[in-house]
């Protein structure tokens, strides 16, 4: 359980990797491997998340290892920050718990020609305009109420559904993971209740740890790659963190119920019922993948529309078109998803079902799925930190393909419960502290803000540092918040 410290083995095998040998627990098919340094591994041990890494290693058909990133913490069945690939041809499974409730929660960054010097004097106006323009907060509906018929198309087309209606461009789709839509989405696999929950939430931010940020590129570590990505020191960027909203949450709910029975029918002996799963090549597995892809596509449509709303707000404040302001999408990544990808497994190229739950794809230079504009340098990897510190933009490296199925961390990871955070700080104090550091926050919930204060999170620089030193991705630049919008 969370709250207990992990007392099992963690062998330092070098390269910032800690192994849980498969002999640790009956049923483990592969080792567990956690990426961390000495400092982070002690936090990780305290959370008992390594026990979940060992449990995931018991999944039928899992290959190479049950992996975890340095931002790992306790989740439901799978740890947050976990990566697990299964071999469908060998009966490998897919598990809704390996994706999570917020299917395709992810991040996108826009670059701009604006500078911090231009934006700082107008930050109040800018943040207020974005806050007014972008629906955020509990119970706040989006700009469009879709019919089920329209949503059934949207969940197949993803971000292109929004672009085709004049909101965005082909460039936006090229610079979105999977082109903004996974093939194989099945609108029939999404329940009527999921459609009901999602009908007025496209173009909404929601609440909790979702946010919009106005940022400045305050340190560049890799000038050539930063240039390729279109970012420069002193330039202003806009980051959006959001997912599939109620539609995705309902899909996960629906298929957890399905999979709970399925796991037993297939004779799986799982150490944790939250790891419920079914073979990828089964009716249940295919149904879940069809619905999950639909929810993922909904999330990409959501982030596309959110980005359009941000562009409109920025344009209004500075009195120029988004094009004149250079408001181009750098990239959009998912960090809760399951995908079929080709990877080297034991010297053979195989199609594996890879679960990234709180983990981000990080493909290297030359990979055909990296947009042509970036293929010479590699895929942008967006790692948001907490609102008081910084976020990072990295680029994928070949070593990630070799070790982690092209995956890295997704963010800072929580270090403190929401309840504890509420005991320590008040939202108004958090607002004042941030203002003193030049960060303006607008939110619909001050209590919610308290739960998101910096002290509740690990330092993302520590997390990213491990990923970089392990050779999985290279740091390109650091982004500091100027303004934060939360629901």
């Amino acid at each position: 359980m969370a709250g207990q410290a992990y007392s099992g083995p963690l062998e330092n095998i070098g390269g910032y990797r800690w192994r849980i040998p498969k002999s640790y627990k009956s049923g483990m098919n592969v080792d567990g491997i956690i990426y961390a340094d000495e400092k982070l591994i002690e936090q990780i041990r305290h959370d008992n998340a390594p026990e979940q890494v060992a449990n995931v290693a018991c999944l039928p058909g899992i290959v190479r290892a049950s992996l975890a990133m340095p931002d790992i913490h306790w989740g439901y069945g799978f740890p947050i920050g976990g990566v697990a690939a299964t071999d469908p041809a060998a009966g490998g499974v897919v598990s809704p718990g390996g994706v999570g409730y917020d299917i395709n929660c992810g991040v996108r960054i826009l670059r701009s020609d604006l500078t911090a010097a231009e934006v700082r004097p107008r930050i109040e106006e800018l943040v207020a305009q974005i806050f007014a323009h972008v629906p955020c907060g509990v119970g706040v509906g989006g700009p469009v109420r879709f019919t089920e018929k329209e949503l059934r198309r949207l969940v197949v087309e993803g971000a292109s559904y929004i672009v085709r209606r004049g909101h965005g461009s082909g460039e936006d789709l090229e610079r979105t993971e999977a082109g903004g839509a996974l093939e194989g989405a099945d609108p029939d696999a999404v329940s009527p209740r999921a459609y009901e929950r999602g009908r007025d939430q496209v173009g909404t931010l929601g609440a909790g740890n979702h946010f919009l940020e106005v940022q400045v590129v305050d340190e560049v570590y890799d000038l050539a790659t930063a240039e390729a990505f279109g970012v420069r020191e002193g330039g202003v960027t806009f980051m959006i963190h959001c997912g599939s909203r109620g539609l995705g949450h309902q899909v996960c709910d629906d298929y957890l119920k399905t999979m709970r029975g399925a796991a037993r029918r297939y004779g799986f002996d799982l150490p944790d019922p939250q790891l419920c799963c079914a073979p990828v090549h089964s009716d249940e597995g295919q149904a879940y993948l069809g619905a999950m892809r639909a929810a993922a596509n909904y999330a990409w449509a959501n982030r596309q529309l959110l980005m359009v709303l941000v562009r409109e707000a920025v344009s209004k404040v500075f009195g120029q078109s988004p094009e004149r302001l250079g408001l181009h999408l750098v990239y959009d990544v998912a960090h809760n998803i399951a995908k079929l990808e080709s990877h080297d497994v034991g010297g053979c190229t195989k199609t594996v079902c890879i679960h990234r739950k709180g983990a981000t794809r990080a493909f290297p230079a030359g990979h055909p799925e990296v947009p042509e504009a970036y293929r010479a340098v590699g895929q942008p990897v967006l790692i948001p930190g907490d609102m008081g510190r910084y976020s990072f933009l990295l680029v994928g490296l070949p070593q990630a393909m070799a070790e982690t199925f092209g995956s890295v961390c997704h963010g800072a990871g929580r270090a403190m419960s929401r309840h504890e955070a509420q005991r320590r700080v008040r939202g108004e104090q958090v607002r004042q502290d941030l203002a003193a550091r030049g960060i303006l926050v607008m939110t619909r919930s001050w209590r919610g803000l308290a739960e998101e204060y910096s002290g509740a999170y690990k330092d993302v620089a520590d997390v990213v540092g491990v990923v970089a030193r392990a050779g999985l991705a290279r740091n390109v630049c650091r982004l500091r918040p100027l303004g934060v919008i939360k629901g």
Partner: protein
């Protein structure tokens, strides 16, 4: 109405509920969940609705699935489905449960008339968005007439 407390969980919200009957446990659990969501509650119930559902999986499935499963039903599933029904109405119609009149509460079914108030984001502040009620660490127990439940909300 029974009582509830929040317990620590790294990323989400854990709730422990105590009551003197299963019906009271369900009502208190509902109150506990919406206490996490809302800072301001609607004043009065404007909508009355009947909620009715059954937990009717094959006995074998029920028994294999959950430590709380009994030949009479799965109380954990009952609690989760009850709360999910309420969250669904909140998310799609902005309805907040304020009063409960149970015709049946467990072991396999719930029949209740629920009085709902309307949540208006322009007037009412909210704190948290609950994505789901999870099965993680789910417990429903009865000992000597005292009922308790523990569950975690994904937020």
């Amino acid at each position: 109405m029974g009582t509830f407390t929040v317990f620590d969980h790294t990323a989400d919200v854990g709730l422990e509920v105590r009551a003197e009957s299963l019906a009271d446990l369900l009502a208190t659990a509902a109150r506990a969940v919406f206490d996490q969501i809302l800072e301001d509650w609607p004043d009065a119930a404007e909508v009355q609705e009947d909620l009715r559902f059954e937990i009717s999986d094959p006995l074998e499935e029920v028994l294999a699935r959950s430590p709380m499963a009994t030949p009479e039903g799965d109380l954990g599933e009952l609690l989760v489905v009850w709360l999910q029904e309420l969250l669904y109405r909140f998310e799609t119609r902005r309805l907040v449960p304020l009063s409960f009149d149970f015709a049946a509460a467990g072991p396999c079914e719930v029949r209740a008339r629920v009085g709902f108030g309307r949540f208006d984001p322009a007037r009412h502040r909210a704190r948290l968005e609950v994505k789901a009620v999870t099965y993680h660490g789910l417990q429903v127990r009865e000992e000597g007439g005292a009922w308790s439940a523990r569950f975690i909300l994904d937020v």
